[in-house]
Amino acid sequence: MRIAVFATCMGDAMFPQAPRATVTLLERLGHEVFFPRQQACCGQMHINTGYFEDALPLIKNHVKTFQPILDGAWDAIVVPSGSCTGSIKHQQAMVASKLGDQKLANRAAIIAENTYDLPLLLTDFLGIEDVGAYFPHSLTYHPTCHSMRITKVGDAPERLLSRVQGATVVPLPDAEQCCGFGGTFSLKYPEVSSALVSEKARAVASTGAEFLVADDYSCLMNISGRMSRLGIATQPLHLAEVLAGTRDHPFRREPAGTTLTTRGKA
């Protein structure tokens, strides 16, 4: 298959390990991956904060960048983030049509139809659960709110993880509880956000797992940022990073200072 990747602005600039692992994984599975360079941001933060006018140029850019899918240039678009997928699927067309650009809205809707977050691309679009991954570590999975309730990922991540050789999956208590990030919510209501993320961090710590895995680096950044401050050693990791490793090329933690780690116990 020909698959275009939308790295997301956060994935591109702050957490490149997620889109990198996505590319590595899909190529290993025999697919051809494309990176349309004009891509930037889906507009989620601007839309969720109420700045529709400022989101419009971002949506226009996204639609222009991924327009080739309308002519069959690719078979699907993959996004290693549940919340950005949610924004593409449920917000872009809505904002475009509210701001009176119906043509843009129509194109955004078709792009949305062909866009998948990573777990659903694998299970539903490519029809594969065993990706041949090897990950000899314990992990706990946080089903992020937008994956769960907006992109409706269901148990796809759990099914994928259950086929990973070597991995021990420890259930996360109160897994469905929001981590309290909410984009600018965490900046506007820092006290409430901190209280929520503290609960989540404690739940993660209680599993004793080596890694906290999710399908979205925003949530991972929030939770691990708090874990780091609290001295909890569980390390954040994107689902793609777990699935990309094999026996021949096992997952290797990036050296300290090059990626997101938590401070852990001193």
């Binding site: 591109d12 490149p16 930037a40 809505m94 780091s228 200072g257 401070r263």
Partner: protein, 486 residues
Amino acid sequence: MRPQSTTETSPLQWGETFRDGSRRMVGNDQLRANLRNATETIRSKRDARAAETQNWEELRHAGAAIKRYSLDHLADLLEELEANVTANGGIVHWARDAHEANAIAYDIVARHQVDEVVKVKSMATQEIGLNEYFADRGIQAVETDLAELIVQLGNDHPSHVVVPAIHRNRSEVRDIFTDNFEDGNRPSSDDPRELTMRARTHLREKFLNAKVAISGANSMIADTGALSVYESEGNGRMCLTLPEVLISIVGIEKVIPTWQDAEVFTELLPRSATGEPMNPYTSWWTGVTPGDGPQEFHLILLDNGRTTVLADPLGRDALACIRCGACMNICPVYRMVGGHAYNSVYPGPIGAILTPQLLGAFEDGDPSATLPFASTLCGACYDVCPVKIDIPSILVELRRRSVESGAGSGSGWGTAMKASSEVMRSGRRLGAAEALLPLGRAVADKEGRITQLPWPVSSWTKSRDVPSPPTESFRRWMSRREKAER
């Protein structure tokens, strides 16, 4: 518990912003423990009741459809209702706002020359501040719902629409009763049964002496003129049947077309609200029946901002709410801060959309204009709502209105959003900005953590570390790979 030093404007919004309210409440560990216990219990019961109902999704769908139909045909249904209530011997009054509703109710009570009335728990009468209005005129309105009584005697505000005393534990309740009950009826322990029996003794006397009762209603049936109250204790039924005069104050959005439609809510409401398959007491009444029950019945139909909300195609869905409170029990934000943080009779997710809409408040400086921002948009409220109100989408729409009316313009958010929009609108611009990211590494410690950052992310680094930017962006990695391949 009651917010202090705020100018109390209206029970819909009493002057303090959610920001201040949430800060005040979030540090209260006892409150959080009370809320956690209570919401978790109700939630797991609710989940079990929904799961065992084989056609739950169909029921939700039907509930949603009936409410939407009723809102679309509201004017006709209300006229039909009025005609039928009148034909049944009731008297219908129309109240545009809180003041009119209170004044009509007060006139009726004054005519009967009593200084005390009994009340069934009712959101509409809280919304208009009826108890306070009456108290100012020398009439005591006695709450008879147990939880509502606890709140009233504690000189407190309700914290939830279904479980008003959710924020109180039983030792707090014992103290409240000890302070308020007559000699001989003071509790000796915090045993729930004893507390309930004390309250019962206290209330029995009120019921037997009351001449006038005040109620709300869960629904009104247009084609028969019947009204309903769903409750757990039977105290509501005492109010509805014992006194000579009954005054029901009901929001106009509570009307539904037929008896058959009520069936759906009889299934949806108790399961969503308290996790019971059926609520213990459902009372229906139609006008007056000679020699049986109240001999004078007044229905006050309350607008108080509802027609304005109705006229708004994007926000009107909030009026479909059946006040089950399920969205509060599941909301992560509500669970951290409780109902008082919202500073409105309607707390939680539904309050965050309903309050600003009823007040038409989207302007900067209006405390309820900040309410739509009081959510992480996690979507749990939409999932649980028995009538499928898409609260997250309405929140986003209200945020947009707030932004467009210029709210928060002085705060720097507008500038930050515009600036980031400039960078994020093209791959070239984003790539150029990424070239600067390594600068961020300079402020990180040797393990790559940033522990302090300037506004607006300073509030983030107060409690969380931030990773330093990576050595190479994804974009650059892709370019490097492509070059190597060539």
